[in-house]
Subunit: 327 residues, 2 copies
């Protein structure tokens, strides 16, 4: 039986999800009309709300009694995620996200930068209300690391010598860290110290798998399924795992090797078709898929430290579902 997002992931926390959604809408308040308009626009453009759902499942899996705290935390996670997307779209000069015009395209870069700042500040403002220092410390350190991951990605752009180790640092910061905050934060709220590490590991490995899959899809998907164009990463000279693996698996004296290096160094998609061919024929894509499966297996393994509940099963289903995008 294939996994169904609504039935296998969302259903166990459907009521919590509704409460969280209400809290997001109530939490974004401002006397400044433009702040409201842009915030609503970007929060409503949200996708499946995977991060808050993960937070709610983790909170229930930990047996959190003050469940309204989890609703707040999940909403805060989604606001932070939205803020990073708004700034990412400025950074990447993106006009569309999930088929909708971005904030920078609808308004302008200025508005997008400042409303992103507002959402970060508002997320912290709501977090302070929960009055939990461990949680605050985790989040303040975590948001530093997220920004650092994003800058490391910029620093590595057009650098063909970027190692797999650096790639892993980048994706940990830009993607996995927020998933970690979502689940470890739930364990902190539940005051279940022994579940902090397993839940962090689950989310970290899940995030790694999720990003590796995303980077695979940049060389294999069509625009319809992904909502982004094939070759976007190559366009920007991003040394993602498919390219790093392709260089390792290709004879360094070959023309193929030079094509990959040059594409990263210069950016642009002039050689896209050739790069796709090399990535596939060298075995790089197979390697990436294997790595995504490994990370997913590690995520699920980490979950076993938690009691067996429908919520733990929901977290497992979410990890398995993410893998289906490349199968």
């Amino acid at each position: 039986m294939t996994i169904d997002f609504k039935r296998d992931v969302l259903a166990p926390v459907a009521h919590d999800f509704t409460a969280m959604d209400t809290f997001i809408n109530e939490g974004i308040t401002s006397k400044v009309a433009l702040v409201m308009a842009v915030s609503k626009h970007v929060v409503e453009a949200g996708g499946k709300r995977m991060r808050p759902i993960m937070c709610l499942l983790a909170a229930r899996a930990c047996g959190l009694s003050k469940i309204e705290h989890a609703h707040h935390l999940a909403a805060i996670i989604e606001m932070l995620h939205t803020a990073t997307l708004v700034h990412d779209d400025v950074v990447d000069e993106s006009g569309l996200r999930r088929g909708r015009p971005t904030a920078n395209a609808t308004w302008n870069n200025q508005t997008a930068v400042l409303v992103g700042d507002f959402l970060i500040a508002r997320a912290f403002d709501l977090l302070v209300n929960i009055q939990n220092y461990d949680l605050l410390k985790d989040f303040s350190t975590g948001t530093c690391e997220i920004a650092e991951g994003e800058v490391l990605q910029l620093q590595s752009q057009h650098q063909p010598d970027t190692s797999e180790e650096t790639y892993l640092k980048i994706i940990h910061g830009k993607t996995s860290r927020l998933f970690e905050l979502a689940t470890e934060g739930a364990a902190i709220l539940a005051d279940q110290a022994e579940y902090r590490e397993p839940l962090r590991h689950y989310a970290g490995h899940f995030g790694n798998a999720f990003q590796i899959i995303d980077d695979i899809l940049d060389y294999t998907s069509d625009a319809e399924t992904l909502g982004k164009n094939i070759g976007d990463d190559l366009m920007e000279g991003k040394p993602t795992l498919p390219l790093i693996a392709a260089m390792r698996l290709t004879d360094h004296d070959s023309a193929q090797y030079q094509i990959i290096r040059r594409s990263i160094a210069t950016g642009g998609i002039a050689d896209l078709e050739q790069v796709i061919k090399i990535v596939k024929q060298s075995g790089a894509l197979d390697y990436c898929m294997q790595r995504a499966k490994q990370e997913t297996a590690l995520a699920i393994e980490a979950l076993q430290a938690l009691p067996e509940t429908e919520y733990r099963q929901g977290l497992q289903s979410l990890a398995e579902l993410a893998l289906e995008r490349i199968q």
Copy 2:
């Protein structure tokens, strides 16, 4: 005797200032080379460090015993200030600040947006370490209001009907609010609840005067003294107090009135010379100077609730010194 910044403002907290400066440099740590390089660049480009000095004076004026907390708070204030400048320079597409190339000009917009985010996160990270909920709440709410003030300014660009009331809201958010955090934060740290309001009022009125003076200088200074070009605000169609007052003081059927309205609506400095003439002849500049003096008087009046010390005198001197820029 004229007021001297070093002798009358800085001297009473000179040792604290050194400790604060060390803490800023130690506080900005990152394993990502680009984060370090940009952060150092922008923090070193700082000016007189008016905000942290104000924080240190306020802390001493309140008799704070754990003075190292004030060093940390002052450093956090400066980091937040720097973060907003970095994002402002992206928003305004500025190439120079205080005669030095901006982060967006030296690197690019992407780097500036992300390092600004890092500095905001790091400031909160250091703030969490102080473990004071009242302080955290004040700062998290305050940073929301700062972002809102900046967005309100954007929203009011090219709007000739912007009222003086809206102008005051803008400058409270974009300028005065951080001064308030610097001084009220010191009272919170010192656990002197009765000094919170006087110190917030001092800083709020000081900030208003400071920004009104800045807006006056945009129509009267030369580039050398200010480090920014005359007419910058007009260029961007910003309805600042000199223009708002000029419209109120000018016959609404006159050509002069239309010139001001059109200049705000379209932006640009085609009519700069005429606008300057109208702003001066209408009495608008006189009105602005009078308002700056009023705000300064209110700032100093608020200080009287504090015990008479060299630190309180330092805060008063700072307010008087700010006025000298237009005298």
